[in-house]
């Protein structure tokens, strides 16, 4: 498998955001898809047909028959199924929404930083009519 940055097989790095995987074997592909399945951001999948899909990959099935993934495309409400053997590349293009927000970071921040962050979350919720 090749990607645009360093890639060490096995444990995924802290964040995959910005990386592109071009699997050269089924094992590479399966590993890249597992990373995408665990990733809490959108990915962009380029198919061998030339089609490009961007969305959130939320499911995969490998235990029976032809393996597939399911994703919610960012621009379409319905889920889309893609078979493993259709995938050419997987790019981690969306923001990793789970990255860099640890509890320890939160409690060690200065009050002013915490207040600013809390105000931003509140402001976004207010803008959506959720406060």
């Amino acid at each position: 498998m090749t990607d645009t940055k360093q890639h060490s097989p096995g444990a995924p790095p802290a964040t995959l955001q910005g990386r592109v995987f071009t699997p050269h074997s089924h094992q590479d592909l399966a590993e890249a898809i597992e990373f995408a399945f665990d990733y809490r951001g959108d990915v962009t999948i380029s198919l061998r047909s030339g089609e490009v899909l961007c969305g959130y990959l939320f499911n995969r099935e490998t235990t029976s028959g032809r393996s597939w993934v399911e994703m919610f495309p960012a621009s379409h409400p319905d889920a889309r199924r893609v078979y493993y053997d259709e995938v050419a590349t997987i790019a981690f293009t969306g923001e990793d929404t789970a990255n860099g927000k640890s509890w320890d970071t939160w409690v060690t921040k200065k009050d002013s930083e915490r207040n600013l962050e809390a105000a931003q979350v509140a402001s976004q919720a207010h803008a959506r009519g959720h406060l």
């Binding site: 665990d38 969305g55 939320f58 923001e95 929404t97 927000k101 939160w106 962050e117 979350v121 959720h130």
Partner: protein, 338 residues
């Protein structure tokens, strides 16, 4: 009595019916997540880290009612995200109550007071308010000052209208047992029906990865909190589950007891782990490799003692063993005998 007799009767009848039918794995509480969007961003929560287009997805009322019918559990817990954000939540709740299910609507209570008119009080509806401790602890846990006071005000308003109100509390490894006991006193003084407590779980994608409780620490902490319980404390959960948290009973996880349905489908294997999704409840039950999960079976489950895995185990103990049944009766009638 923390739980109404009618609810106890319904659950007892349901469990005994499953046993008489020889059903080995049955759901007890449907965890229904109609949306992931929240108006808070708590550091311990792994439920809200998704792209915006996923956070904007909502289950329809029909999907929610269909899931409840398909699953058949007598109790439906509605967490999220914040359920009160869902514009059709009152319709969803009414439909579930019309099915005869006991609904626990879990909320951070920020929107509760202004939404109360949409929810007529009912013995089938419990407003389960997220409270992680006294003011300082709670506001720190939810990452916003002032939320504790808003929630307390909403609890009082809901109680005044005759609602069933409980609290649900997640405890982390920095919990101070004395402060937690004070918190219990304060919640009971408000007049809530009962409290629900659970240790936190290390979500794979939760921002808070180093803060969750390890199993031994969990037992020690809950023993200090729940030992010598005060007469006024009421818990809206199985007394055997509390025994389990204190290390007095050993259980294996029963993840099928609290199946989870959300915008992705039926979540495998449980409310906390995401190993894939099934299209139907039947597919979930038939295709999940249940024996791959639970204590000593899966490293992701090693330290988990969370209610969604073990409360159903405790209920199974109550109805499946003489010692479990007698202990449940004793602790229900004499809760301070623990």
């Amino acid at each position: 009595m923390a739980v109404p007799l009618s609810q106890m009767y319904t659950v007892t009848k349901y469990v005994l019916t499953q046993k008489l039918r020889g059903v080995k794995r049955y759901p007890l509480v449907l965890m229904l997540e109609p949306l992931f969007r929240c108006n808070l961003a708590c550091a311990g929560c792994g439920k809200i880290q998704y792209p915006d287009h996923v956070l904007d997805k909502r289950l329809t009322p029909e999907q929610c009612w269909g899931a409840a019918q398909e699953c058949g559990a007598p109790i439906v817990s509605i967490p999220g995200g914040e359920p009160l954000i869902h514009p059709e939540m009152a319709t969803i709740v009414k439909g579930l109550i019309d099915q005869g299910r006991y609904v626990y609507l879990c909320t951070n209570a920020i929107l509760l007071e202004r939404k109360l008119d949409e929810y007529p009080p009912s013995k089938f509806l419990t407003l389960s308010v997220h409270m992680d401790g006294l003011r300082d602890e709670h506001d720190l846990a939810v990452c916003r000052d002032g939320v504790y006071d808003v929630a307390v005000k909403a609890i009082k308003a809901a109680l005044k209208r005759g609602h069933r109100v409980t609290t649900n509390t997640t405890l982390f490894d920095d919990a101070n047992p004395e402060r937690v006991r004070q918190f219990f006193d304060e919640m009971m003084a408000l007049g809530v029906e009962g409290m629900m407590i659970s240790p936190g779980y290390s979500y794979q994608k939760a921002p808070d990865q180093q803060h969750f409780l390890k199993r031994e620490r969990t037992r020690e902490l809950f023993s200090r909190i729940l030992g010598k319980p005060k007469r006024g404390w009421q818990f809206n959960q199985s007394p055997l589950f509390l025994d389990f948290l204190m290390g007095r009973r050993e259980y294996q996880c029963t993840p099928w007891g609290n199946p989870t349905y959300n915008v992705f489908g039926w979540q495998k294997p449980c409310y906390l782990l995401q190993d894939g999704y099934a299209k139907t409840f039947r597919e979930l039950m038939e295709t999940t490799a249940w024996n791959d999960y639970g204590t000593a079976r899966n490293e992701k489950c090693a330290d988990c003692m969370v209610h969604c895995g073990y409360e159903a185990s405790a209920v199974e103990d109550t109805f499946g063993t003489l010692s479990g049944f007698s202990r449940t009766v004793k602790l229900t009638l004499l809760p301070t005998s623990r």
